[in-house]
């Protein structure tokens, strides 16, 4: 049974359609990345999972139960770090950590002190005097110090410095090793790449991609830049998996030579790479430059416009793989 199962989730605020048929599956024990542009509905989805907000339609199951109806029982088994951490100005960080932990059903004192150490957080400061990053640390320690099955984290590192972020990643790995499930909403791709096994990308309240990170990388494209000894092979631009083909004729490489040299650049999907290389090899390759696919580039494409995203075919494929 998956830890989180969301199907066709719809939520509107007045005329804003915050969630528009969201699908999300998080398997027990995995660290699941939850990505999407600003305002795409990540926080709204998390708040529905917490039972703070009621869904308009669709099914939501959290640890096997309805989060709105069984909020209290479920909350004993999960911890949450909100995107905007608001603390009580007159309570010290230590008091807040203990209070939230106790109201959740207890917290592990040993882990509490090791986390304070790890995040270098001073628990004696009052809520009003913490910086943004330190406010976030208070919420993180309160969440991570509890013995819970599931962690719901809404951009937990947006205020942390790189050192602290590294500590946070280490904590997540430890949590995962202990069998905890994590749903991590984040804008920091390096973090997602480092810790998440699977990701879900949403846009305008709708899931545009979900799958194992390794599979997604398959979808990303290698950038090729070649100098060919002649005109590019016929039909290169029409080949499946080849995008943005650009051809430019250059003056002959050797003075007086009649061989036309062409500069070719294109983006090639992993699946088409072999075919493209065979074709150009027949023309003669003078130089070849390739840039490996980056996750960044893949996400940017999903964020920007769905039409440039991978075809529906590959999308369904990845979903079935998941």
């Amino acid at each position: 049974m998956p830890a989180i199962l969301v199907r066709e989730l719809v939520k509107t605020f007045g005329s804003t359609r915050a969630l528009d048929g969201l699908d999300l599956t998080v398997q027990t024990g995995e660290i699941h990345g939850f990505l999407g542009p600003n305002g795409s509905g990540k926080s709204t989805a998390l708040r529905i999972l917490l039972g703070l907000v009621r869904a308009d339609s669709g099914t939501v199951e959290l640890l096997g139960a309805n989060p709105f109806k069984h909020a209290v029982e479920l909350h004993r088994r999960l911890a949450y770090v909100p995107g905007d951490v608001a603390l009580w100005p007159n309570l010290s960080g230590g008091e807040i950590i203990d209070l939230l932990g106790r109201m959740r059903g207890g917290l592990n004192q040993q882990r509490r002190s090791s986390l304070l150490e790890r995040f270098q957080l001073d628990p004696t400061k009052k809520g009003r005097s913490y910086s943004k990053g330190n406010r976030q640390k208070v919420a993180l320690v309160a969440a991570l110090a509890s013995d819970v099955e599931l962690l719901l984290l809404d951009e937990p590192t947006s205020g942390l410095d790189p050192l602290m972020e590294a500590s946070f990643r280490q904590c997540l790995m430890d949590e995962s090793a202990n069998g905890r499930t994590v749903l991590l909403s984040s804008h920091i791709l390096a973090e997602v790449e480092a810790v998440c096994e699977r990701v879900t990308i949403i846009r305008s309240g709708r899931t545009v991609q979900t799958g194992a990170l390794a599979d997604l990388q398959q979808l990303s494209r290698t950038f090729l830049s070649l100098q060919l000894a002649g005109p590019p092979p016929e039909g290169l631009g029409q080949m499946a998996g080849v995008h943005d083909l650009q051809v430019e004729s250059l003056p002959p490489a050797v003075a007086g030579s009649t061989d036309a040299v062409t500069q070719v650049s294109c983006q090639v999907e992993q699946s088409a790479l072999d075919g493209v290389l065979r074709q150009v090899a027949q023309v003669g390759v003078i130089s070849l430059n390739s840039q490996p696919p980056t996750l960044e580039e893949l996400f940017l494409r999903f964020y920007a416009d769905p039409t440039t995203g991978p075809t529906t075919e590959t999308q369904t494929q990845t979903q079935t793989q998941a």
Binding site: V72, P82, N90, G94, D98, M103, R128
Partner: protein, 537 residues
């Protein structure tokens, strides 16, 4: 460019922004004040149609130290304006001062707390601009209020000169407390503290003039304590009784100097900081800080203690005054005046009944304030963290609601016991303590209804939570002006306080208490049910 040159840059822009934010609040408030003044002037004219009846009414007040302490002295009993505005001058001045305090805090300290000021300060807005624009809002609002009030008073037939003096006396109190609030905003580390601090100063100023007018005062004028109180100054303008214009200058100079102090403080202070550095706290929570109830108590206890002290003092004052009410038992006009104010038999009991019902209304403000704090927990996103733990919405809200319910009871008991004890010591009747305490507690079910209605607003439409205060002011206006206006009984009965028997001194059946309590529970239950169904935002 010098610091002072760019310190105020952006003031005009901020002023426009503030006026936009207050485009409903300000006109509403100003018109309620001005209308209240005009309506009570009209009503008093109808109540005392002859010169003789006015002089009698004025003499009644002037012959009773307790009434002088509460309202002030009528300096010209033959003047309709002076007699009819006696309640409005002191009490009204306090309300206008409160408005200025709220406005000042809202546009300075509260903006800093919310972080919006940081956003603005990063633009071409000088560090003195927020204070500058808030002061402009206060000057503007008080002047409009003064002129509108004067116009309406003239419209109901009072002399123009006195009407203007009256309007400006209000504005004087408003400006003075706007300036005091500006200093408090610089000293405090949060908006809540700033408002509380300024309100304490206001209460002290009111008490000063009460003592100055009654204990130290004579028919010719008050003693020195009234002359160090901005509320005292407002009354010493003596509208319709000689119009002492120079006193207005006193208010003006005071406001300007205190405002200058605020500016100096503001130019030295860091954004978001108060005068006192925030101290550090414990590294871990005490064992009892483990439930939403404990958290609610932690958040509300400071305010509760403040209220409790106020109510004990109020009780001591009421008890002390009650025992001197008998002094003018022989004065027939006094008898008529007091019975007209609502009592039925026994002047002391009638007086106690009036004062205790006032205590009941005040105590209901505590309940409303507690629920407002609960609403702020949600609005400022702190509820989210609690509700994401194993705490149901009902338990979260109940923590605060129970404090409201039991806190109100404690306040009423405190005022009752304090008043009863003072009265018992002077009269030598020990039974007095329990009798007055019970009479005070009789207000509890009605106060609960107001708390419950605020809970219902929180449950159904949290964005409209300010309706809690609107309802509160509405019930007060209904009780104060309703009888003067001869409103039909069913309109007066809208207020829960209209159903409370005027204890002590009259027979009471349990029925109204049971009905009010049942109504409070039912309305609260509706609120909690709605809270459980809606989105937490």
């Amino acid at each position: 460019m010098t610091a002072s040159e760019n310190g105020f840059s952006g003031t005009v822009g901020l002023f426009r922004l503030a006026m936009r934010r207050d485009r409903i609040l300000l006109p509403a408030w100003i018109s309620v004040f001005a209308l209240t003044a005009a309506v009570s002037a009209q009503a008093t004219a109808d109540l005392y149609p002859t010169l003789g009846s006015r002089i009698a009414a004025g003499n009644t007040i002037n012959s009773s130290a307790p009434l002088i302490a509460i309202y002030g002295r009528v300096y010209d009993t033959s003047s309709l304006g002076a007699v009819s505005m006696i309640k409005m001058g002191g009490f009204g001045g306090v309300c206008v001062a409160l408005l200025s305090i709220i406005l000042m805090t809202r546009h300075t300290r509260a903006e800093e707390d919310s972080g919006r000021m940081e956003l603005l300060s990063a633009t071409a807005v000088g560090r003195l601009a927020p204070l500058g624009s808030a002061s402009a809002v206060i000057v503007f609002a008080n002047l409009v209020l003064a002129l509108l009030t004067a116009l309406l008073l003239v419209a109901v037939g009072l002399p123009a000169s006195g009407s203007l003096a009256f309007g400006l006396s209000w504005a004087g109190a408003g400006l003075a407390f706007g300036a005091i609030a500006a200093v408090c905003a610089q000293l405090s580390s949060s908006a809540r503290t700033a408002t509380a601090l300024a309100s304490v100063v206001l209460a002290a100023c009111y008490a000063l003039r009460a003592v100055g007018d009654s204990v130290f005062g004579s028919d010719h004028g008050p003693g020195w304590p009234s002359w160090i109180s901005p509320i005292g100054w407002a009354q010493q303008v003596r509208p319709f009784a000689g119009d002492q214009w120079p006193v207005l200058l006193l208010s003006l100079c005071f406001s300007i100097s205190i405002g200058a102090v605020a500016l100096v403080l503001a130019s030295r202070r860091d954004l978001g900081a108060g005068l006192f550095q925030t101290r550090s706290g414990p590294a871990g929570a005490a064992a009892r800080l483990r439930s939403p109830m404990a958290l609610a108590w932690r958040l509300q206890r400071g305010a509760f203690v403040g209220w409790l002290i106020t109510f004990v003092l109020l009780g001591l004052m009421i008890g002390g005054i009650a025992s001197s009410v008998g002094d003018f038992l022989n004065n027939p006009t006094a008898r008529e005046f007091i019975t007209k104010l609502g009592g039925e038999k026994g002047l002391v009991d009638a007086f106690l009944a009036i004062e205790l019902s006032f205590g009941g209304i005040l105590a209901s403000a505590f309940g409303i304030q507690v629920v407002m704090r609960l609403a702020a927990e949600e609005r400022e996103h702190r509820a989210e963290a609690v509700l994401a733990t194993a705490v149901s919405r009902t338990r979260w809200a109940l923590g605060h609601i129970l404090i409201a319910a039991f806190g109100t009871a404690a306040l009423l008991l405190a005022v009752g016991i304090a008043a009863g004890a003072t009265s018992a010591i002077q009269s030598g009747e020990p039974n007095e303590v329990s009798r007055v305490a019970l009479a005070s507690l009789a207000q509890l079910p009605a106060a609960w209804v107001l708390t419950a209605i605020t809970v219902a607003v929180l449950g159904i439409a949290p964005r409209l939570i300010v309706l809690g205060w609107v309802m509160f002011s509405g019930f007060i206006l209904l009780a104060e002006l309703g009888p003067l206006l001869n409103l039909p009984q069913w309109v007066l009965d809208v207020s829960p306080f209209a159903h409370v028997p005027r204890l002590p001194g009259v027979a009471a059946t349990p029925t109204p208490f049971a009905l009010l309590t049942a109504a409070a529970f039912a309305i609260c239950a509706v609120g909690l049910a709605s809270l459980n169904r809606r989105d937490i935002t």
